[in-house]
Amino acid sequence: MLHFLLRRGLATAPVLLIVAIIVFLLLRMTPGDPAAAIAGDAASAQDIAQIRRQLGLEASIVHQFFSWLGDVLRGNLGYSYFYKMRVTDLIGQRLEPTLSVASLTIVLTVLIAVPMGLLAAWRRDGALDRFIMGASVLGFSVPVFVAGYLMIWLFSMQLGWLPSQGYSRVADGVGPWLRHLVLPCVTLAVMYAALIARVTRAAVSEALTEDYVRTARAKGIAEWRMLTRHALANAAVPIATVIGLSVAGLIGGVVVTETIYAIPGLGQLTVEAVLSRDYPLIQGLTLFFSLVYVVVNLLVDLSYLLLDPRIRY
């Protein structure tokens, strides 16, 4: 187990290094002088020279990369030009809303999508299956922001059930926190539920063709028990894999959702950073999100141990 953790952790190191190189190079691809871009249009030649020195742009690009990487490894992501504060502090400040939206969305998605996929696979090619699969193609195709505005229009403007804007900290009460999260999370869950329901259906359908299912049926096992104990249990690994991979899409979705619902989280911070061309902040956020993606997928790999007793690392 420890051996596996070590090996798997080491295997992610090159991926993280590549990510770091990509993120570093992204901002070096700016046409023209990055110092001029940072200084803005009103800057004098002197200001630009000053920034060049501060950024160490005089050194070779390889040298620049390693000094930047050294800072990153020490937990220093630099200073935001716009907010005049440490990028790491900014990320810390804005983490709670994003974490709330993302984790609640995943819980909601799994609760909706797995039973739907299971039902679709159970009644494969039946009316229920066609309905669920049709709904999933639709869920896939409705853009997050269109779904979001539809929900604001219906549940907030027409019915007046839920707030459409803002976020309430969990420390200020769980009730208001949840009320503010319902619409954003349902919006995001539409797309993920569609994806995960499809994968669940495919994985369970495959499991249902196996001999052990026939044996279980021959023993006269209750249908739902056969579905959950035999079919779903054996389909758990691909489902977990897709949940892990879809975290990348979830992060993109969070950026949009936070903008629609005016949630002051990391997604909104990303949009602000891009609009104000706050390069260190963009860099820090991209690195942070990529790290989250890699770590989540590492955890998914670990979950295989629980989901499938045949897997031993």
């Binding site: 590549i18 066609r130 193609v137 505005y149």
Partner: protein, 311 residues
């Protein structure tokens, strides 16, 4: 069970085993392909014929006739001072621009971005995937780079690229293409790896076939079916990403009529005029739906083995 055929019927029917119908017939017997194809054809016609479909200059504005509701009749004064009566099927935005005209012209942007990204990522992904799959010494390095690229969330990647370059149609297309390359490359590589072991490839190698001829004649054809399927999903995803970028104010300049830009403009006035956001949104959703249905149908028809959505 007359008009709607289930996906996969054409291949699972016993008759198909005896006599395989032509490809065109198999494709058209798939309900998802027929519906998705028809819907997509409609959108393509809308894009191509935009100037003749009761549209006006998508950028002509008249502050005097701003925020008209869909279906209203009003007097429109353009910047040249000409005054004319016009019926506004989808209303006007906050600057008094005709939303129907902007939506019709917006179809051009959405569809061309989707198509360009699909073609671009397939060409580049094919190149990378073939090299990685065939030249084993490069495989490790190339695939680690691809893994690293996949770890950066796609929309974020594209947004940052556009932020760094100046937003234009070309940079938007490139920015959406780059994050899609690793997914295509992985798919191509897996096909190459399995085809390499086939006896006919070994025979060709034994006959000293030049590498280039071998790839073109024996390996490339095997990638066509999965790539067409993957291409449709890339196209659908690209249209969504383009719209998201415009919507966030990061994509094409706001005067360019794209569906995302129309919705972005309508955002501030959503409570009073929800149709400005919801109507173009419906066009976008229907187009993406059409392409996704087409992709689903193609996957079921072209390759029954390829049964999971490319991840």
């Amino acid at each position: 069970m007359t008009s709607l055929t289930l996906p996969g019927d054409a291949t699972s029917a016993p008759a198909a085993a005896r006599r395989k119908p032509s490809l065109a017939r198999r494709l058209l017997s798939n309900g998802a392909i027929r519906i998705g194809g028809a819907l997509l054809l409609f959108m393509v016609l809308l894009a191509v014929a935009a100037p003749w479909l009761y549209t006006m200059d998508p950028n002509a504005m008249d502050p005097g006739s701003s925020h008209l509701s869909p279906g209203s009749q009003a007097e429109f004064t353009n910047l040249g001072g000409e005054v004319f009566q016009r019926f506004f099927p989808m209303g006007t935005d906050s600057m008094g621009r005709d939303i129907w005209s902007r939506t019709a012209y917006g179809a051009r942007i959405s569809l061309s971005v989707g198509a360009a990204v699909a073609v671009g990522s397939i060409v580049l992904g094919l190149l990378v995937g073939m090299v990685a799959g065939y030249f084993r010494r490069l495989d490790g390095t190339i695939m680690r780079i691809m893994d690293g690229m996949m770890a950066v969330p796609g929309i974020l990647f594209a947004i940052v690229l556009v932020a760094v370059w100046r937003p234009s149609l070309l940079t938007v297309v490139l920015a959406i293409t780059v994050p899609e390359i690793p997914r295509v490359a992985r798919l191509v590589r897996s096909v190459v790896l399995s085809v390499r072991e086939e006896p006919y490839v070994e025979a060709a190698v034994a006959l000293d076939t030049p590498t280039w001829t071998l790839m073109r004649r024996h390996i490339l054809p095997n990638t066509v079916a999965p790539l067409i399927v993957q291409g449709t999903f890339v196209c659908a995803a690209a249209m969504l990403v383009e719209a998201v970028m415009s919507f966030l104010g990061i994509g094409l300049p706001s005067e360019v009529p794209t569906w995302g830009n129309i919705m972005s403009e309508g955002r501030a006035h959503f409570t009073a005029h929800p149709s400005t956001v919801l109507l173009p949104g419906a066009f976008l959703a229907l187009t993406v739906l059409a392409v996704n249905m087409l992709g689903d149908g193609l996957r079921d028809t072209l390759d029954p083995k390829f049964n999971k959505r490319g991840s």
